[in-house]
Symmetry: none
Subunit: 117 residues, 4 copies
């Protein structure tokens, strides 16, 4: 599974894993009902502690993004549309905030959009 960990940030590793899985799911690189690596496998391939992966999987399960069928492995949930919709809204919100900041710095919306094209 394509997960990159950045050690130079304040975001804890377990949270980075959560975000990465969410990203892969919303991008449909990970598809509903697809099996994902076991805790041990992922921990090994990322050279991190299994406890850390466990914590991430626990959170993902609480968010209903994955389900673990005990002894049979861990799978992406069937329904992931909510995740996608929430992510879109979150991103639009972030951009709006940043635009506000830029406007405070004296840029007009037109100038900003021009820089973005």
């Amino acid at each position: 599974m394509l997960i990159n960990i950045d050690y130079g940030t304040r975001i804890p590793i377990y949270e980075q894993i959560v975000l990465e899985v969410e990203r892969l799911v919303t991008l449909e690189i990970l598809k509903p009902n697809e099996q994902i690596p076991s805790i041990r496998e992922l921990a090994c391939s990322l050279s991190i502690n299994p406890n850390t992966v466990k914590k991430a999987y626990d959170i993902l399960e609480a968010k209903k993004i994955i389900v673990t069928k005990s002894t049979k492995g861990t799978y992406i949930s069937e329904n992931i549309d909510n995740a996608k919709k929430a992510k879109k809204e979150m991103l639009i919100g972030k951009i709006k905030n940043d635009i506000l900041e830029l406007e405070k710095l004296g840029l007009s919306k037109e100038e900003i959009f021009k820089s973005l094209k």
Copy 2:
């Protein structure tokens, strides 16, 4: 100086001070060559330890946003254009990343811009 500290966040106090000063500088509420509160003063008015303020001032100085004249106090740099330019680029960069994410989720640039207007 108008600085608000939020204790309920993961962002450390010293970094909040850095961000606040940067904000006040880019908004030109703090002007070039203007003196800012002494370490002890700010520490006192925020009810925090002087060392914490010192760390923030150290970072601001490394970013060339302030200059400290030992025994004479601390001042906003003469040239704050770098600070403003850097902030603009940072914000544009953030937005571009978010747009990329949205495009991966299936939105076109036109749709995105429409949501932002």
Copy 3:
């Protein structure tokens, strides 16, 4: 790690650590990706306060000479060429200044080079 601290100088301890690590890196005694002592370890072996070591490590990190992987330790950066190049330029710059001073005192470049051989 072979670091000597001189208490009889105006250079603060944390800066001496920075200079020593830079020296060891440019001399390739410390190699890329090599782990260096933990903050507590070095503090202990130098009989100084961990905060002082931390400050030195912070500066070295800002200079991109080391990277700290939280909870996993501190390492020499992969790419130390910047450090070496910066040091070379710094030294060449210092010498050029000194030569200028000597020329002002009436020596020619030839005379200076002769004294240096």
Copy 4:
């Protein structure tokens, strides 16, 4: 008198004044028996505390670089050759050290001299 004070350094102001006067003397911009500004004048023109200038002048007098004829003002000493010779040797020594450092970084003397021409 052409003296520049750098507030962004660890060298105290009084010492910077000492160094600047020494520099001007060795460069023969200030000549033997020439009168230099009074403490009050210099303090005023540099916008610093007279005590600071006083301390610098005391040191310069102890080094026999200036003499104060009380009530008549302060003058450059008659004999300044020793100062010049000492400075030359100091500079040559500094350069030799820097060259050693560069050689440790893998540069040959020829390469170094080439960078300096």
